[in-house]
Subunit: 110 residues, 2 copies
Amino acid sequence: MVTKETINELKCPVSILLQLIGGKWKPIILYVLRSNKRRFGEISARIPTISRKVLTEQLKELERDGLIERKQFKEIPPRVEYSLTEFGKSLAPVLNEMEKWGNENFLKNQ
Amino acid sequence: MVTKETINELKCPVSILLQLIGGKWKPIILYVLRSNKRRFGEISARIPTISRKVLTEQLKELERDGLIERKQFKEIPPRVEYSLTEFGKSLAPVLNEMEKWGNENFLKNQ
DNA sequence: ATTTACAGTTACCTTTTGGTAACCAGTTAC
DNA sequence: GTAACTGGTTACCAAAAGGTAACTGTAAAT
């Protein structure tokens, strides 16, 4: 029984967003990149609980989905910088509300 | 090497929020409940792609975390209503931004 | 000659998540 | 007396996600 109220993953705006940033790590990665470009090692150091394998995978997906940009320099040792695309930056209000909620509800006195 | 910039899952506001609503289904469940209480069957009908087993699990976690309330009526056949708590309602700005972003970016002409 | 640096990749394994199908209870409708 | 209704639970299996450890390549430093 499909009524107009049924959640359709292709049309529900929340589902659509979750398909892009629904992973366990993606919002945090985007949050780390929100104001600066970062090298791979910097992101890894800022999110020490994510393994490099998974970080690589998540970055690839975010790049594939147009949310971040990967710039590789032809240097030795290699240097790679990740940054938000304009599309990625459009998520700022979402991430800001997430941050705000976390701060208001758990981090008041820290 | 832990600097003040390192993401600490206990202190990062985004991580904190993700621990509560970070699952694949939780934001959608909260979205379905955002304006109405709903019976178990109603939620299931609105999110047909989630199995009842997983829906039960997710609802239990949301209840455990204080985001939703479960009210059971002593009737036959049984009736159970789920609704947002005040704490759950405090997520409205986050869900609204998620919804807004999804609408602006993918659903403009529908 | 060996080590270090960086940004990965790969093989392999474990954990988590999710699905299916069968079953339950108590009352009402057929 | 049998089926249907609702809101689950249970056992079992499959798929997805995630972790670890070892390895790669090239140049510079020791």
